[in-house]
Symmetry: D2
């Protein structure tokens, strides 16, 4: 029977951990803010560990779902590296950066622990329904060992390449999302000022060649309605976009659009703050344009 | 009974004209290269005029489907303005620019002729099946008068705003298409060099938030296969992207991504030539990156 | 003896007009805001016309020094075109755009009036001392006819090319200025956050290959001191930068840096307002960077 | 008496080493390509070491002048770290990157060896004449210890800040140089196509606010003459520009112009090759513009 340690009970981590605990009774959770972990433990009848080191001690599989690779590295350095037992697998579902993941993999390998980066997409809804896409970076053999655990929350489990490959792909996907949000805003702001209503513009674009997930879903549901629900923080999308830009630069791929998107997201983060939702980046374009899309 | 003059039998114009002629027996066509018009006339039993001026003389509705607004202006100046009869409607299905369309509308209005810009999307397949989207700029009353003609080739007929609004919307849609082609290429080139196969990357992106029409259709069908069929010239997409960039600038909408896309398309046009297909813009990114996506 | 009409008594126009009037007693001035013209007339003993049309009626040479080519076109349309006499020369010292200058030249030529664009550089100090650089677009013959008038305020009088060439060159010079202000700010903000004091950085850069007029003069005198004197409006530099960007685009010169500079200046104008000095564009970079250079 | 080891006899290193050896008789040199070192030794009567480790063994001050920080790290790892004696100072005159310099400083400090990054500007002429600017990153105390050595080749010796500060400043200076070369080319290409000769344009710009070291020196001497002498490799300027872009990104300074410049230099490097001179980046803009500046 597989013992799981699940570290990080954020917006995505909570529903993932709930599903993992339902499938694997020997699951223990930990969260930096203890109150969150205790509430989660009470509600779902899951064991809560007082420290990350305690959580991982008996685990066959350690799953992390934190904000950044730096957070993962900090947890690893704070007792986890010493507590985790040889032969365990460390699955990092954080949207991380490949360089830090490779370093973690290296440090863990020295202790006989396999590492796999496994960021997910699908949002809170996908996490709740267990229909996430899981982007795996590491050896195929390690992936097969943890596949049953990943199946607790994911339906599309993809082996992307070596350690860091999952991070890289997640980052590029998210950078394209950021690019679509910003560029669709530029286009709709220009059209609105030229006398074309954004609902009309989206109706046409979404039947044409310029459509994207952003134009088909985010703008109709969140921008035109001015709802801007807070589902995924702009600060995290800025971080992901920068990771993608850094990957492109490391790989010596001239990538003017990805790089510019990273700069624009950094500006948006400064303008809109740490708590803003990613779609609120639209408001920076609106401010520059003196128009409200809707 | 409505007499139609259809000017411009290019890749999109030909199937549109065929459908118009089928619905409106009093259709006469004209094309700059006479041989094309004559072949079309023979094949479909449609009357061919020797000059554009001859074509429009008896027309209730004049339809143009040329490469650029400059081409339309040249045809108008070359006898059409004098030949077209008062009360006719001039429907320009060219992917034009709003400024030239407004000038044409002004000049035609002085002769009692209404103008509507009505660029289309849906490609040659949409034109053949009569399922184009038609983006109309002009008065609602004029649109109602010509709607039966538009219905010969379009199913989604959208009133976008005043003269130029159709052009503006078509241009922005196409600029987003150009942006998606280029940025997806940047991302996939970086991932491939980082060890992630592009088919794997597209499989994940197309199940995630970064997907676009380009990632869902163009890259799997045209780039990964290295087929690059010539369906829509890069030179025309460059022209459309520039129109969108100019609209944004005229409307004082800071639009760094649209502007940069316009510059990149201009570079791609210089690198790849006037005959290249729009998706071949990918090859510029590949060359910069020293990688072939696929 | 040469009669001069001088239209436009702004920050640069006033000292220019004063020097022209000193050299050519038959000078009459006009300004949109009448009080400015009257004060100028009283102070310098120069004749003031109540309207632009009145001012130009007897002139051999008409000089305009307004904010934009649109302002010049408006004045020409508002009676000047009809009032100006055949054989006169129209010298436009506005930092204008080539397209509007060419149209004005065309309209004036139909009345037998020669046009020359002749924007100046050197600032208010150069205007006061009569040491401006004058960038002339038009025929060499027209330039020779007006050279004595230009010498009243300029020492470096350069024939740049046909009508519009002076505008184009002035715009490119100013776009480079804008680029230098913004990019030096980016670099200094990054260095300051990395622990390098901006005065030290400028000391080194100004002895090295990265120096520019901005780093050598504007930053030490205006940014490090936080003085930001209002000598040249950001709104006007935004206008000039956009003209340069448009010239490059018309000439099909891919120019990613000039285009991006134009977008950044448009953002800065929106952020900092119509009254800000051009060097205050630095404050936008500072805000994004959460640092004050100095 | 101070014993010096000078590692790296490239275009800048050679004249620097010659001056150091003249001032400090106990100088020993090393170069990866041994033939270069031997020729240098014969010509200047300087002792040559067979390996870097041999060179540093007796040194009080080790000076490195290599292409990249990666080269320095490789030399350090290849025996130098073990051979260098406690109490020595390691002065790295490479145009390096701050992150690697900080890592080297950390590794050397563990052996009791102080590190200072000290990249230089002034080119081969400055190196020959001993008039280089030296940008020092490290403690003020270490700088004072090595100042006499630096004075062998530099006249302007500037303490920029902690370890990495010299690298950061050198990189930003060079990024501005790259930006000026590219943007001046964009502007001149556009003007030339608009009918303004580049020599006329430069004459005006160099008397106006848009001037830079590039417009005042590089374009008149190297571009208009089509001489393009090979004095500083484009590949190295690309590397420096990227370091500056990375510093800005690490410091969370939105820097769209520096980032875009880095992308353009990467493109230019791919187009023009590893041996091209930095000013040849102009040729990429020329090719895009279908014009030769001159």
């Amino acid at each position: 029977m597989t013992a799981i340690a699940f570290l990080g009970l954020g917006a995505i981590g909570r529903p993932m951990a709930r599903r993992v605990a339902a499938a694997f009774p020997e699951t223990v959770v930990w969260n930096r803010t203890a109150a969150t972990a205790e509430a989660f433990g009470r509600e779902h009848g899951v064991r809560v560990a007082p420290t990350a080191a305690d959580a991982v001690r008996a685990a066959d599989v350690v799953i992390t779902c934190l904000s950044t690779s730096q957070d993962v590295a900090a947890v690893v350095a704070d007792g986890v590296l010493d507590a985790i037992r040889q032969g365990a697998v460390f699955v990092d579902c954080t949207s991380g950066d490949p360089a830090t993941s490779r370093r973690l993999a290296h440090d863990l390998a020295a202790r006989g622990i396999a590492f796999m980066d496994a960021p997910v997409s699908g949002g809170t809804v996908g996490a709740e329904n267990g229909t996430l896409t899981v982007m795996c970076g590491g050896s195929a053999e390690v992936l097969e060992r943890v596949r049953p655990v990943l199946e607790a929350f994911g339906t599309k489990i993809v082996h992307c390449g070596d350690v860091g490959a999952g991070d890289a792909l997640k980052a590029v996907n998210n950078a394209l999302l950021a690019l679509h949000v910003l560029s669709t805003a530029e286009g709709l702001a220009a059209l609105q000022r030229a006398g074309v209503r954004p609902d009309v513009a989206l109706d046409v674009i979404n039947a044409s060649s310029g459509r994207s997930n952003a134009s088909m879903n985010l703008f109709p549901e969140r921008v035109l309605t001015r709802a801007f629900p807070r589902t995924f923080r702009l600060a995290l999308l800025d971080k992901d976009t920068r990771i993608a830009a850094d990957v492109a630069r490391e790989q010596r791929v001239p990538s003017p659009l990805l790089q510019l998107t990273s700069e624009l997201m950094a500006m948006a983060r400064r303008e809109l703050g740490e708590d803003a939702d990613h779609v609120e980046a639209v408001k920076m374009i609106e401010r520059w344009s003196n128009v409200e899309i809707g």
